[in-house]
Amino acid sequence: MLSFLELFRFRRRDSPIHRMDPRVKALYLLVMSTLSIVYYSLAAMLTLFASTIPLIAVAGVHREWIRSLRGAAFLASMIIFVNMIAGYLSEGFILTMDTISYALSMGLRFLTFTSVFSIFFLTTTPEDLSLALEKLGVPYDYCFAFTSAIRFVPDLALEIQTVIDAQRSRGLELEKGNLIRRIRNYIPILIPVFIRSFTRSIELAEAMEARGYGASEKRTSIYELCMKRSDYMIALLLLCILALSILIRLLIGWY
């Protein structure tokens, strides 16, 4: 269940995609998200989803990618299921081919999102991400909060597992009882996790202040982001793809 959080776990590697400017990758994220919202046919979703696979291969993060997809598979199947039920009811209790293909494409849209976000987060260092946000004019405090939140997701997942282990060792059975009982079963898990998170953030704040966080008004960074020629080319290409796709959608009417 927690494997879905793998999406946010960055591992240091080197590939053309890792070296790409984070702003260009953010643009890619934006373009792909827009396309998967503008289009909704099964064929279009398949194309979009398939287009992410070569990038995964080039970046060499297929193992983590598969793991986050596996985590997302459950939610995707829920989406498909709910859409089928809704279609089944609204069409007057018949399951049409249209309903099925629509439901499948909705599920696939979610997987495409997962895949695109995986590419972004698996190949962008938290530092780069923070720099990119700063360049876009976000105040540093917010950038730091955002990147450290992402940075702590894997730790949090590990911690949740430890708490579950500790409470199961005291006889807690999460799957026992009716629905209300089952929700109540999670209280002994949630309380330690919340309290630990608060303690952790206070500790982090103290450690940061001890190292002079906020001492000077204007911060400078060791690394500066700089767009290479290839980055400009790719950004241009992405914008062309976006413009072209929207034109096709509007003028020709493909979906």
Binding site: V163, A166, R168, S169, R170, G171, L172, I195
Partner: protein
């Protein structure tokens, strides 16, 4: 009896944490599992109550394969006290915290009350009965975590790093405590780095390195073997190091702690034999 045969375990990420583990722990034994960080100690104890199941081989608790019983059933026999009490404290009062496991295991209400009374007395937490667990000091939280397991009287008490964050006085009390539980016929299994603490209790020592058991024997034999200890990033207790530098620890009597050393030195001083 806890029995592990040819146990291998690989985490989903692909890390092989245990390799060919063979061991048996009888009721009434006192065992310390030691070894460097990442040697697989915590992974091993999680096998004992079925939190983790072997990838290969089997673990049996009193003859029951851990794959065929629920974690709750196994935990009734094998009580694990985790390293950080903050990972398990959640209730509004100390009393409720202790009650949690008893409720889960379905103890009758009148027995719950008497068990809580006696465990609070045993662990010296009586005065905190109605306080919030989060108001306790680090050492007291640790004792509360221990109490919340001990209260259901498991046959095997497993402790992960029980001495971390405890002052010397608390360690002494913990030692007395473990002896007392052990005297009642319960097995004690503790995972620890604390060589000096182990030198005081002198249990059976199981040394681990990179997922394997590299030595298993009495503390008197294992702890003084400098090469063996160093191979898994540990050192013999200071007293043992000191005496072996003086060539006094080669005899039939090995000194591990201050009391032992006193005996050795006094006997030399008086010109008699050590034992």
């Amino acid at each position: 009896m806890i029995e592990a045969r040819n146990v291998y375990f690989t985490y989903p990420g692909g890390v092989e944490a245990l390799r060919n583990i063979n061991l048996t722990i009888d009721r009434g034994e006192f065992v310390a599992i030691m070894g460097e960080n990442g040697a697989g100690k915590t992974t091993l104890i999680k096998m004992f109550n079925g939190l983790l199941k072997p990838s290969k081989g089997y673990v049996k608790v009193d003859g029951v394969d851990t794959r065929e019983a629920s974690v709750a059933e196994l935990s009734r026999k094998v009580g694990i006290v985790f390293q950080n009490p903050e990972h398990q404290l959640f209730a509004e009062t100390v009393e409720e915290e202790i009650k949690f496991a008893l409720r889960n295991f379905g103890f009758p209400e009148d027995e719950i009350a008497s068990r809580i009374d006696s465990i609070l007395r045993f662990t010296g937490l009586e005065k905190y009965r109605g306080s919030s667990p989060f108001m306790l000091s680090g050492g007291e939280k640790k004792r509360l975590a221990l109490a919340s397991i001990l209260v259901f009287d498991p046959d095997y008490l497993v402790l992960d790093e029980p001495t971390i964050g405890q002052d010397p006085e608390q360690k002494d009390r913990l030692l007395e405590f473990l002896y007392e539980v052990n005297r009642r016929g319960k097995a004690i299994v503790m995972v620890t780095h604390d060589v000096e603490f182990v030198a005081e209790c002198k249990p059976r020592v199981i040394l681990m390195r990179r997922g394997e058991i590299i030595a298993d024997g009495p503390a008197e034999r294992i702890l003084v073997d400098e090469d063996l200890m160093k191979s898994t990033s540990l050192l013999p207790p200071q007293i043992a190091l000191f005496l072996s530098k003086l060539n006094l620890n080669e005899s039939n009597y090995t000194a591990l702690n201050v009391d032992d050393a006193l005996r050795v030195i006094l006997s030399i001083y008086r010109g008699g034999s050590v034992c």
